[in-house]
Amino acid sequence: MSLGGRDAADGTVLLVDDEEMVVTAIEGFLELETSYRVLSFTSPERALEAIAEERPEAILADFLMPGMDGIQLLERVRAVDPTATRILLTGYADRDNAIRAINRVGLYHYMEKPWDNEHLKLVIRNGVERSWLFRQLDERLEELESANEELHEIRRRLVRTFL
């Protein structure tokens, strides 16, 4: 699918789960089935640093992690980059707690463990596309604003020249 010269399969996905086996399982699957660049972390703090630098389109975070839980992490992601799609991965036992926090973070989706690979692919694909569209919209708005700014400048100059 082509979106303004960009392939929808391009994009960066960031994974955070304190369990390395979960991270490698998702990484392996995305490696095989998609052409996204995948950044993975087992530490939420390290993930936050990378998010600011790499600006991934989709972020998939585990809920229960030591130090900072997935909700807290995604809350901070929203502050850093609101256009990144935020997806929460929750264990069955944490479901209720996670649902309570979902509205606070403005989640795009939450997935329960154990996850279904096909469903995960769909959610990530849609999430990446959604983020890309948001960013496109942001760019267009900025372009419009600067065009508007330019128009104002021209108008000011015209007024100065002729009046």
Binding site: E19, E20, M21, A25, G28, L32, N117
Partner: protein, 347 residues
């Protein structure tokens, strides 16, 4: 004496004898009649007593059964908690293996598709490389997941069966760690565990039973904490005795409850999941080891349970931990307070 006189005497005598026999018979009849009544009433009473006795025996047996059931319930609850813990621990490796297996299958399908024409085109080579990278990640998942599952099974072995009567010389820290592992899902991120482990000599004990004590004390500590909190697990040893302390930052125990906490059926848990036997069983197990449990508590600040155990088990061979018919060997012939409970409840 004349013959007539003799005959008269004889007749008279016979008449007298007959009279006497008759009177005696009548008297005897009266005498026999009264004890008969009493016998019957005694028999009736005996029947009633036997009936009451039978009823009492039945209700005693019923009581014994229900006590055994309660102890069993308490055990099942700890088994249930163990199973829940293990199930939770297994979720992550199983989920990862499941997803990894799906990827593995997909990778295999792709490789087969590429090899269907018996050759690998240069443009297919990049695809093969990608498949190899994916499978490599899945291999890592499998390594980690199998390692974890093996670890869980190992922990279960350490935890062992509660009925195992084996005596061995162990490091109590191992048992504490296994117990903390199986309770991991209940601790979550909500409760921090602070370990203040001292140097402990190897302790002669029934390790699996002591694990049950640790499980009971730690479960109580977890349930005493509402919201976030801390559990301190401390160990120390001095003069042939070791002390394991479990302290919580929970709600504490009101002073009026303190004397009752080791009683059967005492619980403040509304759901009454544990039948309130956890501490009773723990105390009995500790007594069997020649040790004791002490408790300190301040409402609003938390409770501290101290298990003091001799390094060498004192000459007690009591091996019925719950004082229940569900125990194993029941070789308890010792005169301690635990023997009483064990004896009463033996089937």
């Amino acid at each position: 004496m004349t013959a007539l006189g003799v005959a008269g005497l004889v007749v008279g005598g016979a008449a007298l004898v007959a009279l006497g026999v008759d009177a005696g018979r009548r008297m005897a009849g009266r005498r026999l009649h009264r004890p008969d009544d009493r016998c019957r009433s005694l028999e009736r009473e005996a029947r009633e007593l036997r009936e009451e006795c039978r009823e009492l025996r039945a209700s005693y047996a019923e009581l014994q059964r229900s006590e055994a059931e309660q102890v069993n319930d308490a055990r099942l609850t700890s088994v249930g908690s163990l199973v829940a813990g293990v199930a939770h621990e297994m979720n992550t490796p199983l989920g990862s293996l499941h997803a990894g297996h799906d990827t593995f299958r997909r990778a295999l399908d792709r490789l087969q598709a590429i090899l269907a024409d018996e050759r690998v085109d240069p443009e297919e080579l990049e695809e093969v490389r990608r498949i190899v990278r994916a499978v490599d990640r899945i291999a890592r998942t499998q390594d980690l997941a199998f390692e974890r599952l093996t670890h869980i099974v190992g922990e279960l072995r350490t935890f062992g069966r509660p009925d195992d009567a084996e005596i061995s010389v162990v490091d109590l820290h191992d048992g504490l760690e296994s117990t903390l592992t199986v309770l991991g899902h209940e601790l979550g991120d909500r409760i921090a565990v602070e370990r203040r482990y001292g140097e402990l000599p190897p302790v002669e004990c029934h390790p699996h039973r002591l694990n049950q004590v640790f499980l009971n004390l730690l479960s109580n500590a977890i349930r005493a904490i509402d919201g976030p909190g801390t559990i301190v697990v401390a160990t120390e040893s001095a003069a042939g005795e070791v002390t394991v302390t479990v302290g919580d930052s929970g709600v504490g125990i009101p002073e009026e409850h303190l004397p009752k906490i080791f009683d059967a059926g005492f619980t403040t848990r509304k759901e009454r999941k544990g039948m309130g036997l956890g501490l009773l069983i723990s105390q009995q197990i500790v007594h069997q080891h020649g040790g004791r449990i002490e408790v300190e508590s301040r409402p609003g600040e938390g409770s501290t349970f101290r298990v003091r155990l001799p390094v060498r088990m004192q000459a007690r061979t009591a091996s019925d931990p719950g004082g229940s018919g569900a125990g194993t060997s029941g070789s308890s012939a010792d005169p301690s307070e635990t023997a009483g409970a064990a004896r009463e409840a033996r089937p």
